[in-house]
Amino acid sequence: MPSADLGGRQATAAPASPYAIELKGISKAFGSVQANKDINIAIPRGTIHGIIGENGAGKSTLMSILYGFYRADSGQILVNGAPVTIPDSQSAIRAGIGMVFQHFKLVQNFTVLENVILGAEDGPMLNSSLAKARKILGDLSREYELDVDPDALIEDLSVGHQQRVEILKALYRQAEILILDEPTGVLTPDEADHLFRILRGLRDQGKTIVLITHKLREIMETTDNVSVMRRGTMVATVKTAETSPESLAELMVGRKVLLEVVKNPAKVGDIILSVKDLAVNDEHGVTRLKGVSFDIRAGEILGIAGVAGNGQSELLEALGGIAAASGVVVLNGAELPLTGPRANGKARRDAGIAHVPEDRQSLGLIMDFTAWENVGFGYHDDPRYQKNAWLMDNDALRADTAAKMATYDVRPPIPALPAKSFSGGNQQKIVVAREMDRNPDLLLIGQPTRGVDIGAIEFIHKQIIALRDSGKAVLLVSVELDEIMSLSDRVLVMFDGQIMGERLPAQTNERELGMMMAGMGAK
């Protein structure tokens, strides 16, 4: 039974328009970049509306305009049929718009209750606000499966629960329209399913949900309608039931894309890398990687599945020579030093390990350096880039960069452009080009397609498979289960710094892997 409170508010709003939000002719430019061009969209009340598009298509700009972070250069916003101006987020909240950001905005050492009332207190004394909030929170939790302990500290909650607090914050502020920006990036499949159940429940109570995501599967499963953005324009709005992932992908990219990864069965050879009891402590002395052991053979892709922050990053950093570790790592029969001055990135490269790091912007690239300087990054001692004992041969490096840019389809193919001027996908291609072109025996690759547009994902996946087919070993870490399932020959699931078990992609499913990612399920 819906509570009287919510039903009553619904009635008093008595909107004449069937649309919760209408945007008419919204345009926004940053300098010479047109981020939004004449956007028109009408979102019917009581629906879940998906907005998809590649990185830089203008989704975030549009939502920032709706939430009052930016002001549109031109155009009109209508909420429930009435024109509104939204100069700041307070106005957005007053208009009934709530936003759940990709990166939560919660005070870590406050309780759930304190976070919920923060900024929405009734007066200087907190007790009455807290009591009122406790009651409302209880009602909301029961109604929408939004169970969280109101007295728990945020820092003690899982990511999925923290997200629920964000949703509760919006509902407590009486949001009728809820915008979620890439909400599942940090969730396990199970948590994501739970989130979607909550969202459907909210919709059935008459709320309007706007879901921004780049995951086609979520769009197909959850939304009623979907709008596609490409290069600042709204290219289409369709009923989800009447479309397919393939046609959505085509609308996003502007050409046909291959969503399925095509690969031949693995031709597995000798053991390339053998890892035994590998453990890593972080700078605070906390053990992040708790003794993992596995082998990778030539010609296979070993996928590491897991929710971000369960030791995968430390695994890559230990193998890549960035973090000191304990245990035994043997590459091509030779043991690698895991501590001391010989345990560094350069020594690992010399040994035949290439590393595409998870975070290309802070690890893999120097954003202020040009593309050609970045192509030499980590390989600046390579004899090919030296003129003589003293001087580097920058011309050779530039020529090599131009060649790599052609092979790996980096756009624009201008070696002198700084890395920060390239799109996320093209930045990733620069890193991939640099690391894969060495023909390494072992490729470490973390989140190969995070923030990368669909066209480039296809290309990078093909490169990874080509390396594997040429008889090299690949260690793939990704939080995208789809990616792990389609690329890997074997899958290890990590949870809390340990390996929960090994599965073959053909003999498992997302549900089982999801359980293991959440720390359940036997070996």
Binding site: S32, G321, I322, G364, F369, F377, G378
Partner: protein, 379 residues
Amino acid sequence: MTKLPTWADVGLVPLISLTLAALVSAGVLLAIGQSPMQALTVMVNGALGSSYAWGYTLYYATSFIFTGLAVTVAFHAGLFNIGGEGQAQLGGLGVALVCLALPWPHWTIALVAAMFGAALFGAAWAAIPAYLQAKRGSHIVITTIMFNYIAAALLIYLLVNVLRPDGQMDPASANFPSGAHLPQFQEIPILQGLFQRFGADGLPRLNAEGLPMYQQVPANVTFFIAILACVLVWVMLWHTRLGYAIRAFGKSEKAAVYAGISPLRIIMIAMLISGALAGLMAINNVMGQAERLVQNSASGAGFIGIAVALMGRNHPLGIFLAAVLFGFLFQGGAALGLETDIPIELRTVVQGLVILFTGALDQMVRMLLGMFFAKKGAT
């Protein structure tokens, strides 16, 4: 923010900043009842109006080039070396010890040896803060500032108790032997003609032996070494593996570790080079001009190097130009004090304004220009 065209970024921005500094300086002069035009004329004449004036301007500029390069090399490694002053004083100690050690047969040999001493002592003084930063995480800004004070105290102790010859009153070392005398501009054959003295009758003045007489200027062969240092620093930073590693480390320590660049190694090497460059300044002032080691020999050039590096956008060519500008301000300011009743403190005010506008406020100019260019690009 819109990216400016390169010409505007490196040319227009400093020019506008300087104009603003000049305008505010003019306002200060007006406020104390002086004529800005007269002051400008005196400064330009006094610093640039004659070969004699240039002989002083370039002398100061030489010192500032070394200290500016010192700041720049550290800066490219992401380190803010405020210790140029102390490193230059220690460089002076190295020069003095070398010059006083032997009756040098020829200045060229003395110069090479003294350069070695200056660089070694300057580098050693930078090595301790560098090690503390790399190993212990002690912030290099704090430690290098403290090391300036320690250097000053150490130098006073050594000058008073060790280096001062018996019977001498002032805290200074003995005069260097004549074999360690560096040729000043009026002693360099090609430049000599510029500094010839003429009598009121327009005829060359001759000394007792009938030889032409020359004006004495402090600028000396060190100026050419400074230019060479600019070129070498440029080659090092942009054309060697070491320079690549220094710049990469300076942009992102995390990424540098990923690439296998050792933070300890880069911090140490960059600071050793930086300290050596600051130390080399002593060749100019201690060996080339004073020819003995005095108290407070660096006389603030180490700090001016920070402004020079900021204004020169951490590029050797920019540093050369900025050093000449500060040489002009120094010498022009001295001329103001000599030839007008404008107080000498005004020199410090003008320098301060130049530093304020070119260093601290140049982002403001850049932002305004960026908005201007964005508007131009949009229409």
